[in-house]
Amino acid sequence: MTAARPVPGTEVSPAGSPTPTDVAVDRLRVVRESGWGTPVRFFQPRNAAVWVYIALVGPGLFLILHYVSSATVVFGTPITVAVVLFGLYGGLFWWFTQRIDRYAHLPRKLLVIAFLWGGFGAIFMASSANTPVLSILGKVFGLSWASDWGAGIAAPIDEELAKGLGLLLLIALASRAVSTAFDGFILGAFIGLGFQIVEDVTYAVAGAGAGFGADPSMSTLKVVGVRMALGFGANIAYSAIFCTGLICFLGRPGQPRRVGVGLGLMLTAMLLHSVWDNTAGILGPAAPFALVAWVVMTAITLTIVVQIFRRTVGVERAYMRAVLAPEVEAGTITAEEAEALAGDRKARKAYRQVAQDRDRRRLVLLAAHDLADELGSANGAETHRVSFARGELARIRSRQG
């Protein structure tokens, strides 16, 4: 009779019982710190954040639906087309943002909660304040001054605060799942996406009645075109930057508290938003060149976003390495595969790019990723799903290329 092979991450003690190795202990620490695979339950009656979330998203949802449905009675076709186009646009960004959250990824339910906050809770708060702030500025400094500078004062403060506060609620709702600055970056992007799509729809509704409603289709399509062309650099990016800063400011299990960096990032998001909204005021007589300025602003914003991504994703990659380390030690996966999984797009491509074996290697990476997810969800314990994921990986590996 042969002894059973110990599960990865354990070794057999002299007494004969399995005990965790160092890498397994580190894996458990990482799983706990990252909250990887932690299920998210929205309805927690004891959690005050849930009630605040409902109290703000509920009226926002009602107001937006009422606004859009009222206008649809008048401008049915153009608004329906706008909603469909913005829906597809939003779907594309949803896919992209979820794709870059590929390591200790956030639960889908949390992403939906973030999106709905941006689309209805944050919109409700920001739109309640934006118009009166502009009105106050107009009364105090004059309407022309308010036209030049008002939007760049009201929107960055109202909207970034409203979007960012959603992250506070998400932390209270799912404290284990929101662990790193990168989590803030991704959740901020989803909050911004919800805000962006709903705001775009309201702009399309308002645009339909432009020019005395003489040509609502063309008016709406103009709004859709402009918002789609320039929108991706706006709310999604700003709130991703702001929420990364908020996590740094607060500190989380996977992100030491760095007040200065946090404040800097939040102010950067507000400043970018302000410059964008004040472009006409800043350019003055050169306002016809606003399009050039917006392209430059978009490039600057995306450069900052890419830099933040690069600086925050490292922790998530380290989590992936730590979770897979016992599997490498046990020979379930190779060190090369673990590096590819924890690496960037180039690393994954380099691993896959082997003639005659490309398809099998792609599947091996997917199966190994499944195993990492199952280990996270199981809190590092050995479960049926973990064993099965390991078996699946072995099955895929044994396939002929």
């Binding site: 605040v52 105090v140 309407l143 109202d158 506070l168």
Partner: protein, 215 residues
């Protein structure tokens, strides 16, 4: 050395509230973030709009001033009225633009002007405005109460005008098209306002003109 199973036992199930963290049926740890969000929301939804309402809107019309609108059109508001929207000629934005709306108010009688590109005749513009008003108000807004009649401004612009009436208000809509810019004038006041402001309204309508030609 601890076993794998012992590690699991220290991790609280999601949503578990330790007894010392319970307060009035709530998780004490969730109170602070919830209170912060609620406080900021209250400021944004209630306090800022209240502050806006508390600051008086409008300013007295400066004698002889012209309110300028996008599209190169303006009108001369009557003295004694209050400017609640719009900017004076000579005070554009830094990019040299004027807003597309202006409004003056006195004794609950409002005189609002809106401009936008329009390719058509004043009669077509008036029909378009009536049609849009009818559809957006779903029949609950003021109704047109007479046939359109021509109106001519002091600068020679030809337009059309029609009267409106609801259960509590009376008013008129006038439409002009000046060099490709549609101009909509909407006057609304209480039915019991009398005709005391009628002369002012007529004068203001007749003052609608391309910028530089206003009197």
């Amino acid at each position: 050395m601890p076993t794998l199973q012992q590690f699991d036992e220290t991790v609280a199930p999601e949503g578990w509230v330790p007894v010392e963290q319970r307060w009035a049926g709530l998780d004490r740890r969730s109170l602070r973030p919830a209170a912060v969000v609620l406080a900021v929301a209250a400021v944004m939804i209630f306090a800022i709009p209240a502050l806006d309402r508390a600051i008086p809107a409008g300013r007295a019309v400066v004698p002889g001033e012209v309110l300028a609108l996008d599209g190169g059109v303006g009108f001369t508001p009557a003295e004694g009225w209050e400017v609640v929207d719009g900017v004076a000629l000579g005070d554009p934005t830094r990019s040299g633009e004027y807003p597309s709306t202006a409004a003056v108010l006195v004794d609950a009688v409002s005189f609002e002007v809106t401009t936008a590109d329009f390719a058509g005749t004043p009669q077509e513009l008036l029909t378009q405005i009536e049609d849009l008003d009818e559809r957006t108000s779903a029949g609950r807004g003021p109704e047109v109460s007479g046939n359109p009649r021509p109106v001519r401004t002091e600068s020679g612009q030809e337009g059309v005008m029609t009267e409106t009436r609801s259960a509590t208000t009376t008013g008129l809509i006038a439409a002009f098209v000046i060099d490709g810019t549609g101009v909509e004038v909407v006057v609304t006041g209480p039915r019991d306002a009398g005709t005391g402001r009628a002369d002012d309204v007529t004068t203001m309508i007749e003052s609608v003109a391309p910028l530089g030609e206003n009197r």
